[in-house]
């Protein structure tokens, strides 16, 4: 990441280390948590534990990548959880009515970006705050879920079951699912786009200061609409991955997921006011959440609500850290 662009690396050097501190802190935290797990529980050192974290959180990872784009521009997208549920719901219901898998995939992957595009337009053209516009999107998508069906719809389609059950690696030993590979592919593409393309630089510029970006002649409006579309696309992919994972579409699935996603992005070192952060940090943030859940599962005596309390505590620690480093006030 440090060699993002060789020409600008020199100019950035003074703040380079500071920029990386939150990500490095997350990495250190992740390693410490993993070490604690390994020292406390014998089965924790099994590589499959790490793979399972990826398998269980693949969809979360994809959605968090989309959210990173939005937060980098200083916006927020509350609709992701509902869009994930709606995508899973639409695919389940279309498959149930007998449409071919390929067509269902295309339709499901189009809904999220369309909704994201519309929200982006509302935010840019009509000056509606991202919080409110995406809140309306969240209500809309969640309402659509129950509108389609108020009960969970099972998926029996051959393609879906193959994608769900295919094990890559040693089927009896350590393996990952296809979803993990898709999630990692999304991460790589997103990292490339943010670091090496004009669009990626625009995202950072708009998040740093949209007024300056506008005065520099950057396409602020187009970038802003694009990030919500990207987030919608990522949510749609996340929804497909979730339907692979659960082999069903349920109207109340992924409720409150937007909080986990935002928490993962913040723990990953992306600043909520925009302009600073990395996709790699988001990956670490998602892994931290995954490892917390795994630790609590391994412990067995702690209840699920401890997950929320620990995530809240971590959020506080990382925000405080960002404040102390003073990224915003460099």
């Amino acid at each position: 990441m440090s060699s993002a662009s060789s020409t600008t690396a020199r100019a950035w050097r003074p703040s380079l280390a500071r920029r990386h501190v939150p990500v490095l802190a997350t990495l250190a935290l992740l390693l410490v948590m993993y070490a604690v797990g390994v020292s406390q529980y014998r089965a924790f050192s099994n590589v499959q534990v790490v793979f399972n974290v990826f398998i269980d959180n693949g969809f979360l990872l994809v959605v968090a990548v989309g959210m990173t784009f939005v937060i980098l521009t200083g916006g927020i997208d509350l609709s992701v959880g509902s869009v994930v549920a709606m995508t899973a719901m639409v695919s389940a219901s279309l498959l149930q009515s007998g449409l071919p898998a390929a067509l269902v995939l295309v339709v499901a992957l189009l809904i999220g970006p369309t909704l994201g595009f519309l929200m982006g337009c509302a935010i840019h053209f009509f000056d509606i705050q991202p919080f409110i516009a995406t809140l309306a999107g969240m209500f809309f998508a969640r309402g659509m879920c129950t509108f389609i069906s108020d009960a969970s719809i099972p998926i029996t389609d051959g393609f879906w079951t193959t994608m769900s059950q295919e094990r890559i690696g040693d089927p009896r030993g350590n393996f990952v699912s296809i979803s993990v590979l898709i999630a990692l592919a999304v991460v790589l593409v997103a990292a490339y786009v943010l670091t090496y393309t004009r669009f990626g630089r625009n995202v950072y510029a708009v998040g740093g200061n949209s007024q300056s970006a506008l005065l520099m002649g950057l396409p602020v409006g187009r970038t802003r609409i694009a990030v919500y579309t990207v987030s919608g696309l990522c949510s749609a992919i996340g929804g497909i991955l979730l339907s692979f994972y659960t082999l069903s579409g349920a109207p109340l699935i992924a409720v409150g997921m937007e909080l986990d996603v935002i928490a993962a992005v913040v723990i990953g070192g992306t600043v909520l006011t925009g302009g600073s952060g990395y996709v790699f940090g988001t990956v670490l943030g998602v892994l931290v959440l995954g490892v917390i859940q795994t630790l609590i599962t391994f412990d067995g005596s702690l209840n699920s609500w401890w997950t929320r309390i620990v995530i809240g505590g971590l959020l506080f620690a990382f925000i405080l850290l960002q404040r102390l480093i003073g990224i915003r006030f460099k």
Binding site: I76, A122, F125, F126, D127, I128, Q129, F131, I132, A133, L135, A136, G137, F139, F140, R142, G143, M144, C145, T146, F147, D150, L214, G217, L218, P219, V220, G221, R222, P251, L252, L259, I262, A263, V266, L272, T273, N303, S304, W305, W306, T307, R308, I309, I311, G312, G313, L315, F316, I319, L320, R323
Partner: protein, 356 residues
């Protein structure tokens, strides 16, 4: 034609006009659909009827939205109110459920005081993060929003605490002078906040802090103290709303109590015409907004539509109200009608074309 629009301009220009119109249209649509909708009757000395129900059910939302209005007026936002409702309700119910006599007034008052105190402390925590440490409000309160749900479940130990306490249930379902007590509490809170902000300089100070915290500090206002205060007030309002919600069902559910009320409250505030950017607020608008949301929910229930599907209607109303209130949208519409082109809105597209 021209004189007619001119005559209506002061009316349509009033910031409460559009929310009030939406509410009236919804009530009218309901009356057409169900002629008995607006009828109110007196039974056993209590008022009954759909309008009374709407008022009673909207009481918690009005309370939360009142606190939220003040927070938003300072340019902040409080996402933690839903969790605070759950925590305060859980503490009160836990204390009452452990008492030997659940109906004794002293037990109920101790429970309320205990829960209220905890809520104030949590509100002070929010205020501390925002005003002293200087964390963005949306993140500072996100911490308590996430962790608060966990805390509420920790208090109830993941169970639903049910209680059988007459005095506590009265908070949600009791009647005083023919009116439901919940309505009276909400109205009293609204009047108190209105008196404190509009009859003293406090409201003006809150607005000036929202407009520009640094400038108000330089003008001699203790901005930090005001910001700290509004989060405590918001937490206090949320705590009372939490009592009402748990009293309504005589049980505390750490997971479900006050779920998404922060979003509804923010919506109510925005529908009421308070800008999320801060710097000005309208308590009347907020109450109208809360009533619109509750009327919408009741309407959807009355039409036998799934409660979750009602979110679809909510989305439509939110977008419609926000678009009507958005200056950019109004400018675009009026330009299309052939009115004079407002200069500021045309500047932006020109600049973008340069880059393309």
């Amino acid at each position: 034609m021209n004189t007619l629009t001119d005559r209506f301009r002061p009316l349509t220009g009033h910031r409460l006009f559009w929310p009030a119109l939406v509410l009236v249209v919804m009530l009218a649509a309901n009356t057409v659909y169900r002629p008995g909708f607006l009828s109110v009757e007196v039974k056993e000395g209590h008022l009954y009827g759909t309008p009374v129900d709407i008022l009673r059910l909207s009481a918690p939302l009005i309370l939360v939205a009142l606190g939220m209005t003040l927070v938003i007026a300072t340019g902040g936002i409080d996402l933690s109110v839903g969790s605070l409702c759950a925590i305060s309700g859980a503490i009160a119910c836990l204390h009452i459920s452990e008492a030997s006599d659940q109906n004794s007034l002293s037990t109920v008052f101790t429970a309320l005081a205990l829960a209220f105190g905890v809520a104030l402390v949590l509100g002070a925590w929010n205020g501390l993060l925002v005003a002293v440490i200087g964390i963005q409000p949306i993140i500072a309160t996100l911490i308590l929003m996430v962790a608060g749900r966990g805390l509420a479940q920790l208090i109830t130990e993941g169970q639903i605490i049910t209680i059988n306490s007459g005095p506590y249930r009265a908070i949600g379902l009791g009647h005083v002078l023919t009116l439901p007590l919940a309505i009276i509490i909400a109205v009293a809170a609204a009047l108190l906040v209105a008196a404190l902000t509009r009859r003293t300089a406090l409201g003006l100070i809150v607005e000036s802090v929202g407009g520009n915290a640094e400038a108000s500090r330089l003008a001699g206002i203790r901005s930090g103290r005001i910001v700290f205060l509004v989060y405590v007030v918001s937490a206090a309002c949320a705590a009372i709303a939490g009592f009402m919600m748990t009293a309504n069902v005589s049980s505390a559910d750490g997971n479900a109590a006050g779920l998404w009320i922060e979003l509804d409250a923010i919506l109510a505030v925005v529908i009421g015409g308070t800008s999320l950017a801060g710097g000005r607020f309208s308590l009347g608008g907020t109450i109208l907004g809360a009533l619109i949301i509750q009327t919408l929910t009741t309407t959807v229930y009355a039409m036998n539509i799934d409660p979750q599907t009602s979110l679809l209607f909510k989305a439509v109303v939110v977008i419609a109200v926000c678009l009507i209130q958005s200056p950019a949208f109004r400018a675009r519409v009026s330009r299309r009608r052939g009115a004079t082109t407002p200069r500021p809105t045309t500047r932006q597209p020109e600049k973008e074309q340069v880059s393309a």
